[in-house]
Amino acid sequence: MPEEKKVSTLLELKNIYKVFNEGTPDEKVALSSINLSLKKGDFVTIIGSNGAGKSTLMNIISGVLLPDAGTVSIQGKDITNIPEYKRSRRIGRVFQDPMAGTAPSMTIEENLALAYSRNKRRTLRLGVTKKRREYFQEALASLNLGLEDRLNAKVGLLSGGERQAISLLMATFTEPDILLLDEHTAALDPNRAELITNLTRDIVAKYNLTTLMVTHNMQQALDLGNRLIMMDEGKIILDIDETKKKTLTMEDLLNEFQRIRGKKMTTDRTLLA
């Protein structure tokens, strides 16, 4: 039944194609014929080598980049040409750079107020009201970093881990339709990365957020989420569903990667021979 399918599909990418520097010697096909559909509540981890097109994919979904061909739709509504700032009412994002997700010269509570009003019309109301402050404190307390007592601290003074935790909270506490995490633990030390990984797991589960997470860390890709995608040279080369992912090990993943890559290498060799 097509109608039922429409309801369950939250995000759909159809035949996405993106090329950089077209017509120059530096031409690079970043994404080619990407088809991907996510059900509500899916938590997909994406792995792949540098230049595989992972970040480009995220940027296409968030609207930072427009695809050269293909369509992006959320809940059956075509959003391919909707500008980034409008999409971001319903798409939460956390970037790799801990500096990128917050406004450093503004206070913690002001940053949260900015995030809080993302899906509302911004007016001349006070950004931080008493009621909101209480709510922010409560939300910050759930991070267990003691930030709830530092509402008036400038975010620029916080550590990378603290900033990333706040970014994660800001991206999620309005319960967006989609959460995009672009290597959001990669710039942190192992302890902090673990903290943020655990927070991610908790928050995604708490709000049942449909999530796409790019990571370089294979173990993280295996530990989190219910679906795993591997990308290479602008294509999705592997798509592992929930049941298969449960039993998947790092070794399987490496073997699989080698198998696909290796096969390609041999075909290259035969071509050259």
């Binding site: 968030s62 500008p83 980034e84 700032y85 409008k86 971001s88 009412r89 939460g92 994002r93 970037f95 500096m99 990128a100 997700g101 917050t102 406004a103 450093p104 010269s105 503004m106 002001e110 107020a113 900015l114 995030a115 009003s117 993302r118 899906n119 911004r122 007016t123 001349l124 109301r125 006070l126 950004g127 931080v128 800001m170 991206a171």
Partner: protein
């Protein structure tokens, strides 16, 4: 410096503080080096002078100047956001265009001819003659102007503080702080830059309108270097009064403008400087204010390094183990 000269300098400083608050919005809040100011300041003076000469109420004329400044600022914003022109260049282009526009605006008062470089307001009614008339009956005529400009500037300062905490203005501040971030929280940064520059130049033009009325003269050259005067005010104010909160910073900017004006008047009055040196002195103040903190920082670093080296050498000679 005589008391009258001091009073004059203070009054002018307080009026210029409104311009400095405008520059604060573009430079500090939006982090946009907006050179429109040199033009929009004159636009304010020109619009007010023309309307006053044409017989409109000076208060209405000042408000019209405010509006004209807003429009000018919005154009700069549009050049930058929609035209994708670099921020400095957008401001410079607008400043240049405004030079001709200002001549044309003042030209409206001419029977024949289209452009006019200045309009005297010697015998015209201005907001200040009105205010002084009002205060004449209370016996405080001397301080009427001072009280009036303090009131106006404080109102604008408090309005700025008030609005910078509102939802929309939080996103304007975030636009200056981290564009990428605030776009990911559904703010239309292009629109916010346009509005922000509009408000900034509205303040600047309003200040220009008041200065023209205060000096009883509107001149096409009265805006030259205004952006640097604004910057000097901000830098002086922040250095002396700090910038911990917004309310504190805007207060610092106001006092910075007053101190700057008194300083300049003092230097001119003592016969040390000629009036024509004023721009040079302004430039020097800003240069020093930008260079000295960096030099001090470097010296501190160097001292620290030398101290550390000495300690390391001393430790080495005694042959101690550093655990």
């Amino acid at each position: 410096m005589s008391t009258t000269a001091f009073l004059d300098a203070t009054e002018m400083g307080i009026i210029f503080a409104i311009m400095a608050l405008g520059v604060y919005i573009s430079f500090r809040v939006l982090r946009f080096a907006d050179l429109t100011v040199d033009g929009s300041f004159v636009t304010g003076g020109a619009v007010a002078a023309v309307m006053i000469v044409e017989g409109y109420s000076p208060f209405l004329a000042s408000l019209a100047a405010l509006l004209a400044g807003f429009v000018a600022g919005c154009f700069t914003g549009l050049l930058h956001t929609k035209g994708k022109i670099n921020d400095l260049l957008s401001g410079i282009l607008m400043m240049l265009a405004l030079y001709s526009i200002n001549l044309r605006i003042m030209g409206i008062t001419l029977e024949d001819g289209v452009s006019r470089p200045n309009i005297p307001l010697l015998n015209s009614e201005t907001v200040f003659t009105r205010v002084n008339d009002l205060f004449a009956s209370t016996g405080m005529a001397e301080y009427g102007t001072l009280i009036f400009v303090i009131a106006v500037t404080l109102i604008i300062k408090f309005l700025t503080d008030y609005f910078l905490k509102r939802e929309i203005c939080l996103s304007i501040r975030a636009t200056g702080d981290n564009k990428r971030m605030i776009r990911s929280f559904s703010a239309n940064t292009d629109r916010l830059i346009v509005v922000g520059l509009g408000i900034s130049n509205a303040f600047v033009a309003f200040s220009g309108a008041l200065i023209a009325q205060y000096n009883k003269f509107s001149d096409v050259g009265m805006g030259i270097g205004m952006i640097v005067v604004g910057l000097a005010s901000i830098i002086i104010g922040e250095a002396i009064f700090g910038k911990k909160t917004i309310a504190r910073t805007t207060m610092a900017v106001v006092f910075g403008a007053i101190i700057y004006r008194i300083f300049i008047t003092l230097a001119l009055n003592q016969g040390i400087l000629d009036a024509s040196d004023q721009k040079l002195v302004t430039a020097l103040i800003v240069i020093l204010a930008l260079v000295i903190p960096k030099m001090l920082e470097q010296r501190r670093e160097k001292k620290k390094k030398m101290k550390r080296n000495r300690e390391a050498n001393a430790g080495g000679k005694e042959g101690e183990y550093i655990a």
